[in-house]
């Protein structure tokens, strides 16, 4: 008797779990009029656009979920697509990840929604970032023009009145900063791929040429070799701190105590630098990246992301409505107020962004510098559709070089190319 009761209870409990589970995952499809959107985003500012949107569209409810940052989110999305359940209506992608999802058909072509007419409202290079084979797969939501953050006080200590405007000056200044001794360096680098690529990008190299599933990789173009040779010189002459890795606690502390004289990074660092280096308040300034030719204004990107609609998303029309709202329409201003840095020309040109002084940066007007950097990003850059894999592999290769000092950056890039060719072809691309 008791045994039967027990068995019943257990099987009932097990049954319940399945029923409950089925309910909670199936609920997203319910209701004819009410649409419940799920948005995956690790950008906090997206949620700021929700109240305004819901007020204007009472039949759409938006739920913004942080499904992990970057890699974690892509994994989750891949899993959800494979499992055929739990796919969000909108998901966030760093620009380099757009081809990875777009080319195998995991993202919808936004052309169906008539996005082409929005093109003029974005910085050119940002639009290029979300375009794969002439089709647009995402709308840019934040932007990372490469700029130089420099610690004026440290440069002054090294006897420098101005920030370096060219890479030649940068090299000379690096020696002067190094002469301060201790842990003073003009920059840190522990094999940061995105930085090296931004350097190549600015110098005119375009190592990846992507055409559908065909990828051509070439690190021997003059622009690429110039950039790589320059950074090699900086490394060879021990002008860089190779012990402190970006985003680590140590990095925060070198920024904070002024031993790190500059950091070339996406413009978005403006928002979080004050938290990382509170003690250095008033010391940091923002400038364009040093140039290869004096007087030039050529920039590159480091980071930035957009939002796309997965091909398996349940509510595509409503999803696009919200996408347009928070990346282009009325949802933009609450996001900008919350600290988002966006590639929309209207925002970059606004008087607010042009004239606001930033106390942390010694009352500098930071907005115009970032707007200038955004507009000067060089065109035509492409990422291969397997870049997520490629960058982790680069990490394996480069760490060997940075620790042993054996080999060269150029050698690493060549080895990297060979690995990409092998992997890419295994994955069904045509890579050479």
């Amino acid at each position: 008797m008791r045994l039967r009761k027990q068995a019943k209870l257990l099987s009932a409990a097990l049954g319940l779990t399945l029923v409950l589970g089925a309910c909670s995952s199936g609920s997203s499809d319910s209701g004819d009029k009410q649409v419940k959107l799920t948005v995956w985003s690790w950008d906090d500012t997206v949620a700021k656009a929700v109240p305004g949107f819901e007020a204007a569209n009472p039949n759409i409810k938006v739920k913004v979920v942080n499904a992990g940052s970057s890699f974690d989110e892509y994994t989750a999305l891949d899993n959800a697509i494979q499992a055929g359940s739990g796919v969000p209506d909108l998901a966030m992608f760093e620009y380099f990840a757009v081809p990875y999802f777009a080319i195998p058909g995991k993202l919808d072509n936004l052309g169906e929604f008539g996005v082409d007419k929005l093109k003029k409202d974005y910085v050119d290079a940002a639009w290029n970032d979300v375009t794969v084979d002439g089709k647009v797969y995402a709308l840019p939501s934040d932007y990372g023009p490469s700029v130089m953050f420099y610690n004026q006080a440290t440069l002054k200590k090294a006897g420098l009145k101005e920030a370096p405007a060219t890479w030649d000056e940068y090299y000379q200044d690096a020696k002067k900063v190094r002469a301060l001794g201790g842990d003073h360096y003009i920059a840190q680098d522990t094999g940061d791929l995105f930085f090296l690529l931004s350097l190549i990008w600015q110098a005119g190299g375009r190592p990846f040429k992507v055409n559908g599933t065909k990828v051509h990789i070439d690190f021997s173009e003059p622009g690429t070799t110039k950039a790589v040779a320059f950074w090699q010189k900086m490394l060879d002459e021990h002008l860089l701190n190779t012990k402190v890795t970006a985003w680590s606690d140590d990095w925060n502390r070198t920024l904070n105590d002024g031993t790190l004289a500059s950091q070339i990074m996406g413009g978005w660092l403006t928002a979080s630098l004050p938290q990382r280096a509170p003690k250095a308040a008033g010391d940091f300034r923002v400038a364009l990246m040093p140039q290869w030719q004096k007087g030039d204004k050529v920039g590159a990107e480091n980071g930035g992301s957009g939002f796309g609609i997965p091909a398996a998303a349940p509510h595509k029309d409503a999803a696009f409505k919200f996408l347009e709202y928070f990346t282009h329409g009325g949802g933009l201003s609450p996001r900008v107020d919350a600290g988002a840095f966006v590639p929309n020309t209207s925002v970059l040109a606004s008087t607010d962004s042009q004239s606001k002084v930033n106390k942390y940066f010694g009352d500098q007007k930071v907005g115009p510098v970032l707007a200038e950097a955004s507009k000067s990003v060089a065109r035509g850059w492409q990422f291969p559709p397997f870049f997520e894999w490629a960058r982790s592999t680069y990490g394996d290769l480069v760490s060997k070089y940075y620790t042993t000092g054996k080999g060269s950056l150029a050698g690493i890039l060549e080895e990297w190319k060979q690995r990409m060719i092998k992997y890419g072809n295994e994955q069904g691309f045509e890579v050479d």
Binding site: M1, L3, Q6, K8, S11, Y100, T245, D250, G395
Partner: protein, 304 residues
């Protein structure tokens, strides 16, 4: 399925009934175990027969993933690393745990209770938190080790490619020594104390007591501890996964340990079939090693 049928028989229905009763008791565990372990393992076996391509989808490739694995230098690099790590870390940790347990049991310590609790506490700390803490403790620039280097004029760096594994050992030992110590200590406490007194009357000194009574008493639990430690170190994952975000150029690659490699293959490389093959081969290796160690212990326990 079995439970309702058995439930209809009275408990005393003879041998056949009792047989089914046993199944009924084991059924809830067994069914869930099927769902959580057996089915996924077979599913992994099935997946391992396919190659996933970003372009072109899945193709059945038979045992190609396994053939590839046996020629994959990155895999064997990780396996070798895990073996050598296990060979050093497990003995160090277990000997330390045993010595500490003996020290606690000797009743010669001031503050035994405090020591016991302190050494055990790390077991309660989640890996996420412990990595945060150790990142600081071993930090060369601003961490404790950095200060130590400054004070002593040394230049120790715990995260170069040749020292990272040692640092991971320090972290793992930190987390699990107390746990093992507590098991050993509990075993020692269960030894009837009259034995010690008898030995003392026979003129044995403390060292002899340890050698003749205490260590033999620990033998069984040591076997268990060795097995679980080996399984644990073979699966090492969290530390090498989290460390690279904190320290530069520690030498940790995407294939540093087999588990990390499997994870990266499956989740960044979109090579789930290959990852499944790797995980299954690794499981087989682990089971083989564990079985080699435990074969006697298991038999004894079963016959008991």
């Amino acid at each position: 399925m079995t439970s309702p049928i058995t439930a209809q028989h009275p408990a005393s229905a003879g041998k056949r009934g009792r047989k089914q009763i046993g199944l009924a008791f084991i059924a809830p565990f067994g069914l869930l175990f099927m769902l959580v372990f057996i089915v996924p393992i077979f599913y992994a076996g099935y997946l391992s027969l396919f190659q996933q391509k970003l372009i072109g989808g899945n193709t059945f490739t038979g045992l190609a993933n396994y053939t590839k694995l046996f020629h994959d230098a990155q895999f064997w690099d990780g396996v070798g690393r895990v073996f050598s790590f296990t060979l050093v870390q497990v003995p160090v940790m277990l000997i330390l745990a045993m010595v500490l347990a003996l020290a606690l049991d000797s009743r010669r310590l001031h503050g035994t209770r405090f020591m016991r609790v302190s050494i055990f506490l790390p077991y309660a700390v989640p890996a996420v938190v412990s990595t945060l803490m150790w990142g600081f403790m071993l930090g060369v620039k601003y961490g404790l080790l950095g200060s130590l280097n400054d004070a002593l004029g040394t230049d120790l760096d715990p995260f170069t490619p040749s020292t990272t594994l040692i640092s991971i050992g320090v972290m793992v030992t930190w987390a699990f020594t107390g746990f093992n110590m507590l098991i050993f200590y509990a075993v020692l406490k269960a030894v009837p104390r009259e034995l010690y007194e008898a030995a003392a009357l026979d003129g044995a000194n403390e060292f002899q007591v340890v050698l003749r009574i205490k260590l033999p008493a620990l033998r069984q639990s040591l076997v268990i501890a060795i097995i679980f430690s080996i399984i644990g170190t073979f699966q090492i994952f969290s530390e090498p996964q989290i460390l690279p975000s904190m320290v530069a150029n520690s030498g940790i690659t995407t294939h540093y340990t087999p588990n990390l490699y499997a994870y990266n293959l499956a989740f960044t490389g979109s090579q789930q079939g290959y990852a499944a093959a790797l995980a299954l081969v690794m499981a087989a290796i682990t089971i083989a090693v564990a079985y080699a160690v435990q074969i006697r212990g298991l038999r004894n326990a079963f016959d008991h």
